[in-house]
Amino acid sequence: MDAAVPILRRRRALQARVGDLLGHWVTAMCAAVVVAITVLIAYELWSSSAMARRLFGFAFLFEQHWDPVAGRFGAAPFVYGTLVTSALALLFAVPLGLGAAIFLAELAPPRLSRSLGLGVELLAGVPSVIYGLVGLAVLVPIMREWVEPGLQAIAGFLPLFSGPIYGVGYLTAGLVLAAMVLPFIVSVGREVLLAVPRDQREAALALGATRWETIAHVVVPYARVGLLGGIMLALGRALGETMAVTMVIGSRPEIALSLFAPGHSMAAVIANEFTEAADELYLQALVEIGLVLFGVTMAVNGLARLMIARIRRAGGGR
């Protein structure tokens, strides 16, 4: 009886260790699959564009012509379009999204906050083609008849608001993207703000801060890394969005300073032209665009991580 206890104990310890080990390996495998998929995609993009990369070299990134008939291919207009539309999307969506998140988390009555939160999540679930269709059917005429002529009348001397007005173009694509990424910023922001510990707020209030001062100086700074995370998620979606952008950007592979001008994006040109690209070089050029998109996404994510790391080091927050 006395001898049995340590044996039992040892067996239990062994079981526990096997369980730990199993758990460790199973989850490690899951993580490895994620990495492997990324590596495979990169490898496939790299190897399937070998001929185009050799032929065009680095000039591919700066070449502005896209002429499948003549076999001249350049990524510049598409990179430009992707970056400009994504930047516009964040420009509109970040202030709006953060404002909404702060209201939902801090100011709205809990019941209203919950139902509005549900609405936001519904918005995130709408397929992108719907955003594109609504953009084309509703937003484009409004932009063409009201918004763009109005902007031109006020600030037409700026190159940004010059040129002919079509309704489709960078600005419209940026707005549609903003609507699409807004739910990410709002719902992540709301969760992050709600997770700020109660005592932080109470301490600020106890020191005599008003409600707004508490939010602006305590809650939001405390949550800023999480808020940035939501914005990064939004940016990721904006960079890769295909269908909605395709429908409202005008599909013109040309770099134009005017936000009213039709443009193009990397994801859109791949989706548009891949199916009918029978010529080998043409196909490879499209794959290379994919590779560039992969690289741009990586670079933007890397920059974002650097930014978050710096903010963390600068003190405060989680």
Binding site: V33, V69, R144, H264, N272, E273, T275
Partner: protein, 353 residues
């Protein structure tokens, strides 16, 4: 270190798994007694009539199942060359370069005809406009900038054309429709030929891009004073206004099943034996000039005797009974003498192995 090794092992395993999954058509090939499955892929333009044909053929031969995926002409050609499908379909004939890559000789079989029409949004113009080839080329080159331009106006006496700027709309996706349209423009305009040329996607001198026929139609409907090109089938089904196009004899012709078939008939005598021919700008009387065949791509060696025999049988059915279904779906049927020639070509599909 251990983690790194693990990651590498996992990637190797993942690569192995994808490699094993690449056996495509072999797996779907029937066992001796199971129904025969033939897989094809390609052009989207003829998809409605092809799915109708394969469905009707299946009703008549329950033991044969022909699957068709409308993944686009380019995809169809690529998959055919890669040997992952039994037959392909395309809206623009394969190039010599592509044919040279095929392991077995590939036959082109014209199946039906389609037409492309210029559609526009001019609220105050009620009668169909007349377009000369030069006018269309000028508009799409950006040299004809206004609707009231003389190149358009002279072909439309009595029509009150606005002096507003023309907004050009084209396809943003690669498409057989674009190929036919730009092929026509290349034939009627030397400047177009040298500046843009003909292809499934080209470098457009001016204009906005819409994805698919519906995208182009959507932009045209949305944008006053715009003009674009869509498939006739699409324009008819959606009640879009479309113009008449002048053919080389000087006539302005409205696109319909008769005028499109007439275009094919007018060049029938000069169609080469491999049927790879463009019939745009056909000069016969009453011939609509922006028309094209769409082709099935059948390898001479299908690698399987029953498949080859079935394909032969399907093709001869398609050329007889199948043609009668074309008009209902607003495709133009093949001219009779071409049908007769194609029936002879069927025999080139090898059934002995």
């Amino acid at each position: 270190m251990r983690r790194l090794i693990l990651a590498v092992l996992m990637s190797v395993a993942a690569i192995g798994a994808t490699a094993c999954g690449g056996g495509g058509p072999e797996q779907t090939r029937p066992m001796s007694r199971q129904p025969l499955t033939i897989n094809g892929a390609g052009a989207t333009f003829p998809y409605p009539i092809y799915s109708k044909w394969f469905d009707e053929y299946h009703k008549r031969h329950p033991d044969v199942q022909i699957n068709y995926q409308s993944i686009g002409s380019g995809g169809g050609i690529r998959q055919l060359l890669a040997g992952t499908i039994d037959f392909g379909a395309t809206d623009s004939p394969m190039t010599d370069e592509q044919l040279a890559k095929a392991t077995s000789q590939v036959l082109h079989f014209p199946t039906v005809l389609g037409a492309i029409v210029p559609s526009y949004n001019l609220p105050d113009v009620t009668q169909p406009l007349n377009f000369t080839g030069a006018a269309l080329a000028g508009v799409f080159l950006g040299t004809v900038k206004k609707w009231s331009d003389r190149t358009i106006a002279t072909a439309n006496p009595g029509v009150n054309l606005p002096s507003s700027d023309i907004v050009v709309v084209h396809r943003s996706d690669g498409s057989g429709t674009t190929f036919v349209w730009t092929d026509f423009l290349s034939k009627v305009s030397g400047e177009w030929k040298s500046r843009a040329g003909a292809g499934t996607a080209v470098s457009w001198p001016v204009g906005l891009g819409g994805k698919g026929n519906e995208g182009v139609a959507g932009l045209i409907k949305q944008t006053p004073n715009s003009v674009g090109y869509v498939e006739l089938v699409y324009a008819v089904q959606n009640n879009l206004p479309y113009g008449l196009v002048q053919n080389p004899t000087g006539e302005f012709v409205k696109a319909d099943a008769n005028t499109v078939t007439a275009a094919a008939a007018s060049v029938a005598a000069s169609i080469p034996d491999d049927y790879r021919v463009s019939i745009t700008n056909a000069s016969g009387k009453g011939a609509y000039p922006v028309a094209s065949f769409t082709w099935l791509l059948i390898p001479v060696k299908m690698g399987d005797r029953t498949k080859a025999e079935t394909m032969r049988d399907f093709l001869s059915w398609m050329l007889t009974d199948g043609q009668k279904m074309a008009a209902d779906l607003t495709y133009a049927p093949l001219p009779p003498d071409l049908v007769a020639r194609e029936r002879e070509t069927i025999a080139r599909i090898e059934t002995g192995t």
